[in-house]
Symmetry: C2
Subunit: 300 residues, 2 copies
């Protein structure tokens, strides 16, 4: 199943990075881009990472072998409905949403006669929009593909090969399990980061200017992911509500245990906990999922 | 008040970075180092960042104009008692502890006849030990000096000038206010990071190997500060208990509000919250307290 023409709907950080990565690594593949926003289409045109920018979603997907929906998960159903009339019968439709079970259902409902192979590249930065993308975003990162039971093996292979060609490593996973894994590794961390940055900015005893000045003590690490796209993340929490609330409950239990240890002066419990968490970072670095340089390699 | 001889007690990340920064920026100043650990003293000797390594705390501080205690805050009282017999009458004693009110009291009690000017350089990395230090650690970072009421102005000026000479910016602050500010900007972030890394590694539904593999979705940002020195952080939470518990309560309130918004599907509240937190990061970058490059400047 050769992919010669790709359509990308949604030209923000992820969509524009896919277009750029195709341009660099799959020069024979033509890319048509579309975005619902006039301003984003104009910027994409200027930046030149697509072969063609289509003003209309139906025109964008005509003749595409692979259509990738790169819009916030709350807009997937509408985006799918908008492209439906233009799709080739044998086109593969995929997406990049950070939650998968709900999106898979929405896409299957909107496109009952088409092959839908949901995917999630676990990569990104805190920046948003078509100018924020770059061609190496997916290199060495994982892309999780969550085909429904009985999905076409050829289509799964085509999507897998596509992401591998962009530099990603691919893992197949059940959509519900994906949503639990990502609740832990991505959604809960974002929720916690958004919370603490909000908390810190609204204390009476400490001014916002003090929080900013002394942020190098640890706080600044949280501000990066708390600067991520608000609409994208609103939709993720709404779409993956059950898994997020389940992992949040575990987090709250653990936080209560540590809170009690602090209140009681139980240093042994604190030291034991803090010693165990060191090992995880070592493994993340060993497996190439983070920079080994101190401070994430920030300049000093 | 000329500082010609500095003694550093505790040769971990911070102590060894001070020694290295003096070597680079204040070449006329001689540095004597001491650490209670034989292994650390041997490593410091090998690394060569001090002019002299003293095996004995009393010998280390003889003739020193400025003595800096760079040990975990729970060990400050013992470290101060150990050096007391060797101190010159006009020596200034300072420290680098991350909590200040408790440490100031401990030092004043242990050294009633000496000038104590507590300080806290808000800088560090997740690495520990004498090999982890580097001479530029304090450049552009803030050092908070918390003199007691009535402290010698000359001594405050000497400590201020010393830290400025190492590249830091200096702010004077009341010790109790320092502890509230740092509870927000440093201690609470570390507590939350330690918690979530522990939570993620002990879920039944998601394996530790999956957490590591997909950590680039956000989780890995938390693992850096959760890899910080366990003993240092145990002591910080015990020493700054009241301020940490007070800010933790605010955090818990905010987290409950967001949890409820997710449960109720209140997207407007989530989007509003997530939009406000973006501005903080922009200010941190503008004020030179973090890297403007996406992903903290990690390599892609």
């Amino acid at each position: 199943m050769a992919i010669e023409r790709v359509a990308i709907v949604g030209l923000g950080l992820i969509g524009s990075s896919i277009a750029r990565a195709i341009g660099e690594r799959l020069p024979a593949v033509t890319v048509t881009g579309h975005d619902a926003s006039d301003a984003v289409r104009a910027a994409a045109h200027e930046l030149g990472f697509c072969d063609t920018i289509a003003d209309d979603p139906v025109a964008a997907v005509t003749d595409a072998d692979l259509v990738i929906l790169a819009v916030p998960v709350g807009r997937m159903a509408d985006a799918a409905a908008a492209i439906a009339p233009g799709l080739k019968a044998d086109a593969i439709i995929s997406d990049v949403g950070s939650s998968k079970a709900g999106v898979a259902n929405a896409l299957a409902a909107a496109l009952p006669d088409h092959v839908v192979i949901p995917a999630h590249p676990v990569a990104g930065t805190e920046n948003s929009g078509p100018a924020a993308g770059f061609s190496t975003l997916f290199e060495g990162r994982w892309c999780i593909v969550t085909p429904a039971a009985g999905a076409s093996e050829d289509a799964v292979t085509a999507v897998t090969s596509f992401w591998q060609a962009l530099g990603a490593r691919v893992e197949l996973m059940d959509a519900a399990h994906h949503d639990m894994v990502l609740a832990v590794t991505s959604h809960l961390p974002h929720l916690i980061a958004y919370t603490i940055v909000g908390t810190a900015s609204e204390l009476e005893e400490v001014t916002e200017s003090e929080v900013i000045k002394y942020s190098a003590g640890g706080f600044r690490d949280f501000t990066r992911i708390a600067a991520s796209d608000p609409v994208m993340w609103r939709d993720v929490f709404l779409a993956n509500r059950d898994a997020v609330l389940a992992t949040l409950q575990r987090f709250n239990e653990d936080l209560t245990v540590l809170q009690q240890a602090i209140r009681r002066g139980d240093g042994a419990k604190l030291e034991d906990w803090f010693t165990r968490t060191r090992a995880i970072r070592r493994s993340i670095i060993e497996q190439g999922q983070d920079d080994a340089a101190p401070d994430f390699g920030r300049k000093h």
